[in-house]
Each structure stands twice: as structure tokens, then as C-alpha cells.
Symmetry: C2
Subunit: 307 residues, 2 copies
């Protein structure tokens, strides 16, 4: 079977660059949208040039120029959006272009976290990301665009490297806050693996119009289990300070917006268990079962880089 | 001879990451300063972790904590500063720490552009970068710190990829502004090569307390020569629109700060010829003569990535 042609939108972002690399690694003809408004963003320009050197093709188009977007979409079979979480509704322009182009066999909108369909009860202000993702889903389904939604759960760099602590991305040296009893199961993914599984799914009939959940068995862990792995690797025991859900929520009040969003997400994951408190239904499929050939990264392996 | 131990300050920046890579490539024990205020800067954190995976050691210290800075400096022989151009005077804190530590055999302050000693006449507001670099030089010399100043002239990504055009980093498709007669000689460097030459110089007695000028013979080119190389590669002739120095300077008036800085720098380079209108004196040394073993990138080679 010929490999589908993939267009990544938002290819220089944290998630997008992983989609580009995974698409190239899987041998897909890979296209990356570049926007005329790049200007002097030297890191983005150099990243795009390095994708090009690795075989990707750069397609120039603007979200504010419908015609250019339709032309770009017409050159590929699959569109993977990794647009920034700060304004996910910008994707409506992409949905419009895909609808008009009419040739797209699979669209992956920018999600890659908790399943927004399970987050109807989410806390303000963080819930906006789930609400916006649901708006995009409705637009996709209303336009009958073939799609896959990817729920990649918690990226290890944001939840494991910091042992689940806020405002940092590296392991604390002395003490660690424990959310509740620390025994709620969460699901952690090496962000590179999220790219691999997503790209694996794009030509797969088993994921058509379904949600792909990435739930690697060995990465379904409690906060305490993650901390124990780190203590094991570092040979140092951390002081553990339990914090109740009420205290934790109160700690976010009056803080900056980003932190408030974080507190909400952390609460859902570590107190409610929102990643693991439901079974995958008929409209879902689990990535490690579909693609057992992928050697996903275990969290003790992931943590070694912080030693 | 044992390789000196190198500490890079600002190691995740555009220049700094190239210093880290060059230092590792040359086999120096390489240390990268990390600051506690990194927080959620995920790209920087991941870059630091990747340096670590390549053999660098991360040293935690803060510019606002003199003691931590002195302790970091005491662990190495050479300090390379690649701190951001937005506030070069922050380096005074580093100079203080190096002075107190007393063990540093070579300090390379953050310069890597035009020689600030030749820019006493520079235009506002861009001249602030030269003025600040001179303040740092005076502090270094007053403290008798062994040093090398590196004048890397014009980085290709900012001056060649865009054929010398403002507000973009990629070649224009239709027309190109020509500064004056387009025949002023400038000097262009692949930014990776700037890292290589800098690190080559740090243990070299010939560069002690001197300025290292990087002037690769084949990269001393006029704007018209750069454009001709691109036209040759792309097979497309661009429309050339000459602009006088007065018109060009006027074009910057009332624009944003970054653009005004850019107009000044471009004016000095393309109209005045500030990179080539002086000979290297007794206090200078030329990098390609000192290190002929380095295969520097030629600009037609550099331009191929934009095709």
C-alpha cells in the first residue's frame, strides 16, 4: 500500500515537530505548513529548514487565506493539526478548508491530552481547552470529515520529570507534594511516542472516526509509583507532603492564568483519576494493542535523563 | 594537553547552543549553566537534557546569587557567555563572579557580531548593543580577566538566507532591495562555524587578550554576489530595486524598536562597509588563518537549504 501524504499544521510546535519526525520516520511523504507571518522567528525557520533537509516539503499557506489553505490541503491525503492550545478555534478555518477540498481521508485535530468528551464537568478556567476541542469535533463531524481523535493522556515532560509538581519541569530535590493519598492511577506517555502512535493510526481503518487512546500498560502509574521510580534511580528519598484536594484547589486561587489552568488539569488527573476512571468504549481503540510493534518508553527509562 | 573545562552561560540560546555543541565536539568537558527560574520553559529544559545526554554537565546557578555563580565558575577553566543581546549588562554579574573566583584562564563575553570597538559612531537605537559590549570589555580589562573577544561578523541566517532583506529570514520570491550599488563587501558566517572557531580559540595563546575576527575569504561578499549565488541556484532572476542610504534610513523611522535596530545594523554593514573597512590590527587575529583545518561553510552551500 502506498503511504498516504501527510500535512502537519503547527509543525514547529512542541507536539507538531514530533508529528513531523514520526511521519518522516514512517516513510510518509510529509508536508509542513509554513505561514508567511514567520518573520524573524529564527528557531522556527531553522526547524522548518531542518525538516526540509530530512525530506519534508514546506507548503506555504495562511490560516487567513482560505484559498491558500485549500490548495495546500489538496496536495495531501491526511492532515494532522498540532496547532497551539492557546487558540484551538483557529482550527475552524482548517476544517472549512478540508471540507471544501473534499479529498482528505483522515484529519487529526489538535488534542493529544485528556479526552475532552469526558471533561464536561471540568473546572474553570482550564475547561476552555476541552470546550474548544469539542467545538472542533462538532465542526468535523458536521462536515463529515473522516477523522481520528487522539487522547495521549499526560506527556511525561509535564507530569513525570517534575514528579507531578507545579511550576517546574525537573525533579524537586528535597520535598514533593503528594496529591491526596497519591494512589490515583494516571497514564504517562513519552511525547515522542505520542507522535509515533498518532502517525501509525492515520491509515488504519480501525481508528477511522474513532478516538485513539494511548494507554501503555506499564505507564499506568500512581504519583507515588512515579516518585518511587525516581527515588530508586537517584538513591535519595524525598520528604512527602500530602495535600488535600480542597487545599490544592485553593492554592490556585488568585494566581496567574497558566497556573490556574494547571491546577485544574492536575486536580482532574491526580484527585479525580479522569484518565483511568472510564473504560474505552466502542468508539475507541487502544494504541498499544493496535501497534504492539512500537517499543514505547517506560517511565523509569524516561526519568534517567534527569539524573 | 588536557582539554580545558568550558562553562557556557546562555547555553539554550541561538548562539549558546552552538557553543555547547562545538565544545562537546572538540572534546572539552562541557558545563552548561542552568537557572532555577527555568520554570515551564519546556523547549529549554529539553534542550538542556539533550546536552546532558550528549555528555554535558548542567550546573545550577543564578545570576542573582553571586555565591552560586562563583561556585559554578570555580569548576571550570573557560567561561563562554552567550547571554541574550537584550540585556548584555547582566554579564557584569558574571564578570564579578569570575573576578572573585580568580581561576578562569579565558573568558569570552557575548559579542559574536561586528567589532564594537569600531562602532563608536553607530546609529541609535541599535548602538546600545555596541555600547554595552564596550562596558563589559572595560569591566573585563579592569579586572585583568584573560579574555578573547569574538567578532563573527554577519550570521548567514540573518543576512544571507533573506538576501539581505529586512523582516524575513527566507529568500524573497519576486524582488529584492539593493542597498546602494550593492557592491559593498560584507562578511558572512554559518552560525555553526562561529561556534567552532570560538571554541578553537579558547586554549590558544595567539588569541589571549585579543579579538578573534572570523573572516573566511570566500564568504567576503557583496549583497549582489549573494543574490547572484541564489539566482544561480534557484534558476530565477529577481527584480532588483535600488534604495539609497537616505531612503533606507528613513524607512526605519516610526517603526518598531527591533526594526529600527535592524535598519541601523544593515546600514552600517551594507552602506558603510563596517565589517571590511578596516584591517585587523596587532590586537586581532583572523580565525581561518589560525585554524585552516576547519572546513567552513561557503554561502552557495548555505543557500541550498532554502531551495
Amino acid at each position: 500500500m502506498e503511504k498516504s501524504r501527510v500535512l502537519v499544521v503547527g509543525g514547529t510546535g512542541f507536539v507538531g515537530r514530533r508529528m513531523v519526525r514520526a511521519s518522516l520516520a514512517e516513510g510518509h511523504p510529509t508536508f509542513v505548513l509554513t505561514r508567511p507571518e514567520l518573520g524573524l522567528a529564527v528557531d522556527k525557520v531553522q526547524m522548518l529548514l531542518s525538516f526540509k533537509a530530512q525530506g519534508a516539503r514546506l507548503l506555504e499557506a495562511s490560516l487567513d487565506d482560505h484559498r491558500s489553505l485549500v490548495a495546500a490541503v489538496r496536495q495531501v491525503d491526511v492532515v494532522v493539526s498540532a496547532m497551539s492550545g492557546y487558540d484551538l478555534l483557529q482550527q475552524l478555518k482548517l476544517v472549512e478548508a478540508i471540507k471544501e477540498a473534499g479529498n482528505i481521508k483522515r484529519f487529526i485535530p489538535s488534542e493529544f491530552g485528556m479526552d475532552p468528551a469526558m471533561m464536561g464537568h471540568a473546572i474553570e478556567p482550564g475547561r476552555i481547552t476541552f470546550d474548544q476541542k469539542m467545538v472542533i469535533r462538532r465542526a468535523i463531524e458536521d462536515a463529515n470529515i473522516p477523522h481520528t481523535y487522539v487522547s495521549a493522556n499526560s506527556f511525561a515532560c509535564f507530569f513525570v520529570g517534575n514528579l507531578g509538581q507545579m511550576r517546574t519541569l525537573v525533579p524537586p530535590k528535597e520535598k514533593v507534594l503528594i496529591y491526596g493519598d497519591g494512589n490515583t492511577k494516571a497514564i504517562f506517555i513519552d511525547e515522542d511516542d505520542a507522535g509515533t502512535y498518532t502517525i501509525k493510526s492515520i491509515d488504519d481503518p480501525r481508528t477511522l472516526n474513532r478516538t485513539l487512546y494511548i494507554r501503555p500498560k506499564e505507564n499506568i502509574l500512581t504519583q507515588k509509583e512515579v516518585i518511587a521510580k525516581w527515588e530508586n534511580l537517584s538513591g535519595k528519598v524525598l520528604e512527602k507532603i500530602p495535600i488535600t484536594g480542597e487545599e490544592f484547589l485553593a492554592s490556585g486561587e488568585g494566581t496567574d492564568y497558566i497556573n490556574q489552568v494547571g491546577v485544574g488539569h492536575f486536580y482532574h488527573i491526580y484527585y479525580e483519576g479522569c484518565l483511568t476512571n472510564f473504560e474505552i468504549g466502542e468508539n475507541g481503540a487502544e494504541a498499544t494493542l493496535l501497534y504492539p510493534e512500537v517499543e514505547y518508553t517506560r517511565m523509569d527509562e524516561y526519568l534517567k535523563r534527569y539524573l
